[in-house]
């Protein structure tokens, strides 16, 4: 079994605000990739907050993203952040977004929020920081 799990449930808040960090070079290994395993390693103690541009990761696209043609290669393994967020939710991670970030993404963004993502009030995250052992911008 790769890596032990912390026996007491840790409380880690992972905050992502930098988004879209490279499609061709990243592919499956986007910033969200590590989150389910961090959740496992922490004994089920991770919460993930998506802030600023990263809130878009939790908003369903209106059309599928086409594969990318580069010369003779068709690259169909680009990152799929919505699928990644769904995996994170399925792993049991609480996913949070702050209401103003959702509003900033356009009038229909809130309607397209992925099921299970929780919306909190502005600066509601910071109010919760003292309840976490670790607060990391990832």
């Amino acid at each position: 079994m790769p890596g032990e799990v912390i026996q007491e449930r840790a409380r880690w808040l992972l905050i992502m605000e930098k988004a879209y960090r490279g499609s061709v070079e990243t592919q499956f290994a986007d910033a969200l990739y590590v989150v389910p395993d961090l959740h496992r390693q922490s004994g089920g103690g991770c919460d993930l907050a998506l802030r600023g541009p990263a809130v878009g990761y939790a908003v369903r696209t209106v059309a599928p993203q086409p594969p990318l043609r580069l010369g003779g290669r068709t690259l169909d393994t680009l990152p799929d952040p919505r699928a990644s967020v769904t995996k994170v939710l399925d792993a049991g991670v609480t996913v949070l977004v702050e209401e103003p970030d959702l509003a900033a993404l356009g009038r229909t963004a809130a309607d397209r929020l992925l099921p299970g993502v929780q919306v909190i009030e502005p600066y509601g995250l910071a109010a919760r920081w003292p309840s976490y052992e670790q607060v990391w911008f990832l």
């Binding site: 790769p2 799990v5 395993d37």
Partner: protein
Amino acid sequence: MARPIPATDVLLNLFGAPHQSDLVTSALRLATALLDRGARVQIWTCGDATGLTSAALGDTKPRDLTDLERRHPSTALIVRNLLADHPDRLYWYVCRFCADDRGAADQIPQVSKRSPFLFAEHVKAADKALVMGVC
């Protein structure tokens, strides 16, 4: 079997990329200040920061073409020297997945490559853990 992780006061997780900001400088300055105060420090690198200790860097940067006689140390040498200055209180770890992904699999022998599955163990071994920069 994974080697035991020494208990430390602070774990600095260096996730941001070199050459984009002063992040690496800040991390090394903070590590030095902590060590000067007698603290025990771990550094864990991810992403492009794993390249700081790539064996391919050798000891020196490429020559300054305007000053050919002057040598400039590589980050690999700087880190090696820092580790030698604090053999019992500074530990440098490199994420194996990131090192492989970023073409830095070949590392200087003074650092330890670690599986990302062991990250929580390193967090647990430190009183405080900072994540500096993003991958």
